[in-house]
Symmetry: D2
């Protein structure tokens, strides 16, 4: 089928290509001219404006938005709305907060448009291996997009599904990322323990490779970790600095709001925050207190 795609970055660009390979007509736009040109070169339709994107699609249209969460999504929708017509479908495939998705669904629905929220996982490997998609929205609308999902997914009947009403897609993706934080932290702690156990001369790259087959912890994350460790066994040149992209903290907020105790997902987020702290006041305070009551020496800066 035909689909518009706004945002041709790491994720969007690969998705466009996977859709093209699957026989769909993709009309793509990005502020980055190079990305558009690359799309055209690959055999899809790269356009220079949102107006052109809409013009190149026949109604009822489906436009997949793949831009950073927050204002960029609202801006894109605002730009599209006057150009689109009733029944056209907006798809937000990015990492939006599910509450925003519920709001957008309500607002667009009130004006006669359709809106679907798609939590999209798979990272840079999606082009080759397919994307896992968690979809929230009205059943009939999701059904209309079936050909798109069947192509983007690892297999037509695997790795995607409507998880519930509007918001359910981004909600499930949000928690997916929270779980991802926990798994990553668990692995990272384990390898740090190995590194510290000097007398056993353990080799993290070798261990990761062994675990890929037959172990309880075998997983895609481990596969990638094994490859990365093979390429750079001592992680030379890499700073111990870990960003977080929003969904982890939303998961923590949501767990607390729902009165669900989620210590490991929470701790994984806190640990990432900690990785970015320098000149830590908490630790200085502890040092000062120890000195104050026990006369313990303080390390000086």
């Amino acid at each position: 089928m035909e689909i518009g795609l706004i945002g041709l970055g790491k994720m969007g660009g690969n998705m466009a290509e996977r859709l093209r390979q699957g026989g769909h007509k993709v009309v793509g736009f990005d502020f980055n001219k190079e990305a558009t040109a690359k799309l055209t070169a690959a055999g899809s339709v790269g356009v220079d404006s949102v107006e052109d994107l809409v013009k190149n699609l026949q109604a009822p249209r489906a436009v997949w938005i793949m831009v950073p969460d927050g204002k960029p999504v609202d801006d894109t929708i605002a730009k599209l709305k006057p150009l689109m017509q009733k029944g056209d479908i907006f798809i937000d495939g990015g990492n939006s907060n599910y509450k925003e998705s519920i709001r957008r669904h309500g607002e667009l629905k009130a004006e006669g448009f359709e809106f679907v929220d798609v939590g999209t996982s798979g990272g840079v490997w999606g082009l080759k291996e397919g994307y896992s998609m968690m979809i929230g929205g009205d059943e009939d609308v999701v059904e209309k997009l079936r050909p798109i999902f069947e192509t983007l997914a690892p297999a037509p009947d695997k790795g995607w599904g409507r998880t519930g009403p509007s918001g359910a897609g981004h909600f499930v993706k949000m928690v997916h990322n929270g779980i991802e934080y926990g798994m990553m932290q668990a692995f990272a702690e384990g390898f740090a323990i190995f590194e510290a156990k000097k007398e056993l001369q353990l080799d993290n790259a070798q261990i990761a490779e062994i675990w890929q087959y037959g172990s309880v912890v075998r997983s895609w994350l481990l596969d990638l970790t094994a490859e990365a460790l093979k390429a750079n066994p001592e992680l030379k040149g890499i700073a111990p600095f870990v960003p977080d992209s929003g969904e982890g903290r939303w998961t923590v907020f949501e767990a607390i709001d729902l009165n669900v105790s989620a210590p490991v997902i929470t701790e994984s987020l806190i640990r990432r925050i900690r990785s970015r702290e320098t000149d830590n006041l908490t630790d200085k305070m502890l040092s000062v207190m120890r000195n104050a009551f026990g006369g313990h020496a303080m390390k000086k800066e």
Copy 2:
């Protein structure tokens, strides 16, 4: 090659069968006569005593011990020693503490025997899918056992390896289980959040199945979880009670001894302990304190 196997339970029994299917001669003993009979019925040699086990093997012998950690391992070794001869190999494939393995290696070596510690992962699926094995011990001894490892592993060249000197096998397996605790806890928290989000009517079984393909969290644990949720979506009849088997807490102790901060593995253990606490004094104390300073009502039992 020939191998003796002591302990024909969930793990040992399956391993014996995988070895037999791989063309090895397995002589097996278990206090449970049924287990021995089953072994014989399958085409291996089930025997009624440790003495018979040793008699049925030609020197230099290799005896794989697959019994609970601690005293049972020492008892088995003590019983075997007078029957074995110099150069014979003891293999501890169970979940022993690596410090014990280092001790046993030293003691046996001093008496002319060989000892190898093998951390064995794979659970009840190992017969079909193979075992992941992390091996500690002397290089030449591990090399002698190569045919055994190649058969037990998922593939001859995959899923096993000598990770270091004596103790390195059980050490790596110990941390493997710590990581496993963290991964499990992360998934479990995520599904608990889904269950609590009533208004989105999420379906844990469906979500687990979607994630199996293309998501960042895809893993063997998730595959098993998806199957379990399919069979019992609401986990009916299952108590919220989680044992821990020793290796998780050893990992926590080790991390602290090594001065490695491992909050997520640690928290996963603490949470399991919490699952078994009833009539919680900590929480009662908090309730009493709130009442004492703020006059807040206490819930009565």
Copy 3:
């Protein structure tokens, strides 16, 4: 000086009385007629309506609002505004979110009123021992209320202060409560360890009493705990169920928003949430997973 006080509950009622004892004229209102009657009986002016409260005060007026956070505060302000005149001061002494306080300050200021946010600590003991007050707002307005603060505080020059501009009072009180959670949890865990160490036959009440003098952990919380343990050493009849009142979770949200890692305050909140969970899905999931990969028996409900 003269002061109006709306909300004569556990906190407000005691504050009114402390103010009266300090020589101030207190005009108090509460929907609960008993509370108003009690105020009058004590020698202050209990009134039946917000209208009467305002009428009984001479401009420029100061009205201290001591009601639950959220809608009740906004409702009270809305009811007061038409009755008050420019320059009159609204004081929110409850546990409001500091963001709301900043908003209310802005809105009231725009209409010519003054607004001060006061985080008030001291619980049911404040009448006797005085209140600790953290105050946010304009300096000149705080200064006008000095006689009130000097009376409510433990001593005229101790236990109160303007901590910053609007919002700073409730912000500091919010974090105060977060710290309180952490301290309480630390004590509670310690006493739970004592109870579990059966062979040493420790006596929590005795230990708490010993620690009150000379120890590093001596504190007001410990004093109250010692008394509570003396009265009920085994905490008989008390359920292990711990509410949380909002400020703890706001502290956690704020720490994350500010990118400050605060694991202990966070964990204290999570543990309170955990105390209220029954039929825990997280723990059931863990049990199911252990069974799925390792064949471990599941405890049945």
Copy 4:
């Protein structure tokens, strides 16, 4: 009464002086000649050897050992034993592991000596304010030392007590320190949040001072913190590096061994360990994983 004191450091020196001021005859020894000289100058009996110490005391003797835990305690006892006689009392007032104290009690008792374990809290302030003492050992022996405890304590009947049989003193002190870690961490996190909230321009020294009077968090630790912040409001020159002295980690091990979930005490220890980690492998691993699956940029060292 008469007492010998071995170890005249920060703690022991002050205790000797408090005992002298209380009318006791103190015979003190330390390898540091200056410490001994200072003792003599103050009016007690400083001696140059353990032999002289014993000689200067009349049987039945009481010798208080105030040296680092572990080997130094055993060495001191070993040196004393041949010089002492049946019925003499050994007192370990340091931070020994309670399991060692139980062992030492058993060994000394078997040889006709007495042994008492005293957990001593109060730090450098003990000389002035008295020490909190938690005492384990036989009732009659503790009773014989009553004059000593009454003098060292903040008041004759306050701040000390026999908490149980041998080991109970050091056990209670161990957990006391675990609680202390939790309280310190809670305060430190709170002040770090204040520092990060730039727009409110909060002043940690002022807040600490306000809280000292009337707040729920008022405590001795807060008093010391307020003073330290007054002296150095921005904690200039202090490194964010926090040692831990053993008792915190023993508390964590003990909680796990007893199957008591103690997340806050545990997390406080982990956070101290974290403060000493540099070039963190865990965080590098996380960075590498994010790059591997999502193509996220890694910060370079």
